[in-house]
Symmetry: C2
Subunit: 514 residues, 2 copies
């Protein structure tokens, strides 16, 4: 009988982990296996375990209920099933469970509390040096962001030629000291000089990511993990079917038990020319089968959208469609896909040479408002040139832009909205009107809540036309200056003065029925 190591008590939605010693000879990643079965009186989950190096095999589980659980371990290297029990106590205060899709276009935490994603992107922040990782976490903690997109694999691209702190596989990378802004394209794919064993993972790499997933969870941030991506010089984007399958199983076995994980199959899947739709559907089926918690799943495009109507996709993860408009299409995408619209890339605030990374904070904030008031969930990142070559979009570090504070302001307004999110009401051609998404108010003629946004238009006043029996508290909101001014209570036909400048909003909240 082998000795199992595990906790005796754990909080709901935390990671329960059981370890067992096993063989180190041969290739434990491919020649051995471990499985676990967890159950209480309500749920039963089967999970694949994984080899964590140095003779240690592990299986992880995220309990969704309080009370007594039992588990059983089977493995290629043990003759008999090993068993154990543990107790699940109530969830920690900051852990609301995994995020789920709610009411078709919105989200909520499994405990029923409100979650409206306001994401950012730092593609390989967790593969930078430790001081930078810490700084990123500090920046995130002070930021409005409650979701972050990042990659498991390192990134090779303009402004991203440095080596990651670790690699996902055993082996050695090509020489990166000769890479420049001008020649980096020549290293795309599997550059000369790489020598990797795609059948032997480097557990250190994954442990570091897990540590960061945990840290994110502690500050209320969802980890939108990008499992594959095309910006590669190591060959990780060019592995074969068998290598890919091993990778997917390993990733899911390690990460699925973290409550704040989302699966993004790929960043810009359509630039990964070696992968076909069949491949993506196959990866999706591996997740659906092996992730017992059914974490959120999507796939991010460069140009062509993936078919977001596929049943395994829980929400759209959309990239800008041109240099002008994207957020403005939220309504039509809601209609088309009948899923939450997460606009993970709507162009980044910054000043680099590329059109995807050089809009102003004002334009970014405008795009956020356009998306949010339509009931979509916009995403942020920053690409400011920096002497230290640390760009938030890839490396994390410090936020430098003007939009995060304004995004925080918008987020506070989103969270103040009654109901489960915002949704558009087509009222006037020349404003954007949102109401509270809510089953109760959907068919009301007069809504209890209206949020009007004027974007680049600069009205000096607007007129409103309601009945004489409904009173509204009216506020004029300067979305850029982040100021809310109460202007009074109004009924019937009324006129609200505005300063004739851009980026203004008006909020009406029903106070009473006269």
């Amino acid at each position: 009988m082998k000795t199992l190591t595990y906790q005796k008590t754990i909080s709901k939605w935390d990671v329960f982990e059981v370890s067992i010693k096993g063989p180190t000879e041969g290739n434990p990643f491919t020649e051995q296996w471990i499985k676990a079965h967890f159950s209480n009186n309500i749920e039963t989950k089967e999970v694949e375990g994984f080899y964590d190096g140095k003779g240690l095999y592990k299986a992880r589980f995220m309990p969704s209920f309080e009370g007594a659980y039992t588990f059983q371990i089977t493995a290629s290297f043990i003759a008999e099933t090993e068993k154990g029990t543990f107790t699940v106590s109530q969830a920690k205060k900051e852990n609301h469970g995994p995020v789920r899709v709610a009411h078709t276009y919105h989200f909520e935490y499994e405990d029923g509390s409100v979650y409206q994603p306001i994401g950012t992107t730092c593609y390989v922040w967790e593969l930078q040096n430790e001081a930078l990782q810490k700084q990123t976490l500090q920046s995130l903690k002070k930021s409005p962001f409650n979701k972050i997109r990042f990659c498991i694999f390192p990134k090779h691209y303009d402004y991203n030629f440095n080596e990651p702190i670790s690699y996902p596989y055993e082996g050695t990378p090509c020489d990166s000291s000769v890479i420049t802004k001008e020649n980096f394209g020549q290293f795309n794919g599997r550059a000369k000089g790489n020598d990797w064993d795609y059948f032997r993972f480097n557990p250190i790499h994954f442990r570091n990511i897990e540590k960061n997933i945990c840290s994110l969870g502690e500050i209320g941030i969802e980890a939108d993990i990008i499992v594959m991506h095309p910006y590669d010089r190591w060959g990780f984007s060019l592995m074969n079917k068998e290598e890919d399958a091993l990778y997917w199983h390993y990733v899911i076995a390690r990460f699925a038990a973290y409550h704040n994980v989302w699966w993004s199959l790929a960043n810009e899947y359509d630039l990964m020319s070696a992968k076909t739709t069949e491949n993506w559907e196959n990866y999706a089926s591996i997740i659906c089968k092996n992730d017992p918690y059914q974490h959120l799943r999507s796939i991010h495009n460069c140009r062509a959208f993936y078919d977001y109507t596929r049943p395994w996709i829980t929400h759209c993860s959309i990239q800008r469609i041109n240099t002008y408009m994207t957020a403005e299409n939220t309504d039509s995408w809601k209609q088309r896909f009948q899923k939450p619209i997460v606009l993970d890339e709507i162009t980044y605030e910054g000043n680099i040479q590329h059109g995807w990374g050089n809009i102003s904070g004002k334009e970014m904030t405008r795009r956020f408002w356009e998306a949010a008031l339509r009931g979509g969930y916009p995403g942020h990142s920053e690409t400011y040139l920096s002497p230290d070559n640390i760009l938030w979009w890839s490396h994390g570090g410090k936020l430098k832009g003007e939009s995060p504070d304004r995004i925080a302001f918008l987020k506070s307004i989103m969270y103040q909205t009654p109901g489960y999110g915002l949704t558009r009401l087509e009222l006037n051609w020349d404003d954007l009107c949102a109401i509270a998404a809510n089953n109760q108010t959907k068919f009301l003629k007069v809504q209890p809540y209206y949020l009007f946004y004027y974007g680049i238009n600069r009205p000096s006043f607007r007129t409103f036309h309601f009945d004489e029996t409904t009173a509204f508290d009216v506020e004029v909101i300067d979305t850029w200056e982040m100021k809310i001014k109460k202007v009074g209570t109004y009924t019937g036909n009324f006129k609200i003065e505005l300063p004739g400048k851009e980026y203004m909003a008006i909020r009406l909240r029903k106070t009473s029925t006269c």
Copy 2:
């Protein structure tokens, strides 16, 4: 034999007018007619004349050639054909003849000189008091605008409740003193108290318009005359078929001989619910038949475009399609309609309450660049609230906005472009690149002229990739600050620094082949 009154010499493309005394009894507008036949050794034109009041009948002609002409007059009230001769001298310096469509998407004057329309709109400027008319002409003279849209009929709409200085018909208007911002909708159409004879024109009204068409011509501005429109309290938009036909014939007989006339059948034709497509096609056929000079013809929409593929339409006259984008669709409309794209209304610079009249000068300027670099022709107007209630868009007066100076700057760049206009070259997804529209350069791999515009993007630099044998003079253009900075001569692969701010452009002009 009746006595004809006419000039013995006239300049090419000026208005030759012949007058003859006739009856005043009955209704001369409907009971009498006058026709004229003009010819020289090249051209022969038949025109309808018109009754100008006080027993005076007139026929007008615009000669397109120099030398000796003869003419013949027939009329209901003369027994024999009257004849005469006159001589046409060379065109005045400022008169380049009528504007014609050239090279499918562009324009030029009949004398072959460059004309790129940069229009503005002052709907009823010529129906305001004389001092204001003068001020408008002075403003126009200093402005970049070389086309102006305005109506023959007065306008009834928000900010437009005052009476015009004259009416097109004999009769009396309804009492306008009781009209307010709130109740003006109740006066739409044919308001109570109007008493017009739609068969008796008021020549004073038309003479004033002609005087202003002349004044515009003298300062190089095309008069884009809006013959019908929906914003009416006098009933002019609700006349019957017979009344309309009489009006069209009268308008054409009076105005067609002015070289700088364009016909806009209507402003927002689709809001004139009393008119059908059959009506519009009928008016078009009256113009085609009765305007011997085939002045440019179009019709302006509110929502649905008129079918711009109709053969009588010489160019598109487009209104903004939403609050965000319009200019950006220029390419697709060029493809679809195969005609010049004139964007007569792309939202006005201003601060009124309506979304069609409250964008910033920056946004207006951006829209102009977006349209112009695609080979379209954007239009301007202004709607700034003013204590004197004089808004450029309707009344003319003074230009107050920030865009006219920037439009002048853009216009100078447009006119500096070799060839007959700009056209888009799809080179990069994240810039807007224009080249010189020119039969010679259309198929060249390396163009002699490139104009790159970055709009709301803020690149800190851009890289260019040409061969080593072509040298370009490179200029960095700040389209808002209106500054052009020469940065040097470059070949091959080169990088141009930019200030990382919005609204920048780069111009490359081939200097030599090394």
